[in-house]
Subunit: 212 residues, 2 copies
């Protein structure tokens, strides 16, 4: 045990994900697992700032376990009352709304500034399931790594094989000569068990931390 | 025949694509077809400004057929001597370098400004094969349509089924509840003939124009 200041404090992790909960409990469970693991590993969570859907779950789980959470929110979204929840369903979600006021919120001018700010504050990027916005965010930080703007890994949580088509897109684009084979390494897919029935109980958070 | 000024001049089309040529002649042929069709339809081409790979082919074909071409180039890329070509191969490409000086070049401050400028100047977006940057650009304009920032179609040229995995990603994200079914309509896939052997001779340009 050292009394020295901790200079090896692990860096923050940006999480990109949907503002919907999705149709399958496994998505919510994976988000909770990731949020909790970040807290336990003392890694701050940086995210889009919403309290709904997967966004709400991952941030809630992090807060609930004593983690530090920073939400980066475009000004227009603050005035509009937040990110809209796009689907409704019967997924059971425990959101610790009592702790939510501990979230640090950074208000930025635009969607673009949000992405820049999230990337700047983080040393790794994690993609949980989401929609077009999530796809775009994950691919933009991948592009920035490819261009050498930063050198940070992109980790996709492949729960229920959600990201499998993106892996296929990348693989075929490499085969067709549009992406260099070496760039394949930028994105790490965390696949979990081969059997989807084991995805509900899998420790996605630990697998993500190992992949960083 | 009217002597009135033409107020129905068709709008510009932004094309996103790779700075590599790809491994298959069909990609180059499709790019030439799209560039030529834009010129013939009197629709200005707006693109990333490179002279290499698919970028060079689509813009060269447009210029060669008397079309108007505007390249939007980030300042850092101008000083670095342009977009690097990432692959080399035996694809036969006819680039009309004689006409290339007719390209209008707009220099912008950043990669982000390039995307904003390309989108602002265009009334439709076309994705030809490319890599991470192309994926990100296509998905960003899709996100902007979804958010209501603009209302412009995204057309993906599915030559040799290049974009098929993206269709699967979107379809499964809809099925999993992260994208609204109505948003599926934002992206139109131009598939061409079911038989890939007919892709080399297919009129991709006309099919793209019909999809706008
Ligand atoms: Mg983007």
């Amino acid at each position: 045990m050292s009394s020295q200041p901790d200079n090896t404090q692990p860096g923050a992790v940006a999480v990109y994900c949907g503002s919907s909960t999705g149709t399958h409990q496994e998505f919510a469970t994976a988000a909770q697992s990731v949020g909790k693991s970040l807290a336990v590993a003392n890694r701050p969570l940086v995210y889009g700032g919403g309290s709904k859907g997967i966004m709400g779950i991952v941030s809630g789980a992090c807060l609930e376990n004593g983690g530090k959470v920073t939400g980066i929110v475009p000004y227009a979204m603050v005035t509009a009352g937040g990110e809209g929840e796009k689907t409704q369903n019967n997924i059971t979600v425990h959101l610790n709304e009592v702790g939510r006021e501990k979230t640090e919120t950074i208000v930025v001018a635009s969607m673009h500034e949000r992405k820049v700010e999230m990337a700047k504050r983080s040393e790794a990027f994690v993609g949980l399931p989401g929609g077009f916005g999530t796809f775009e965010e994950v691919l933009e930080v991948t592009t920035w790594t490819q261009l050498g703007i930063h050198k940070k890994p992109v980790i996709l949580v492949n729960v229920l094989s959600f990201w499998e088509p993106l892996r296929q897109l990348v693989d075929s684009s490499i085969a067709y000569g549009f992406i260099k084979p070496i760039s394949k390494e930028i994105i790490v897919f965390v696949d979990g068990p081969a059997n989807h029935e084991e995805h509900a109980g899998f420790d996605w958070g630990s697998a993500v931390l190992r992949a960083i």
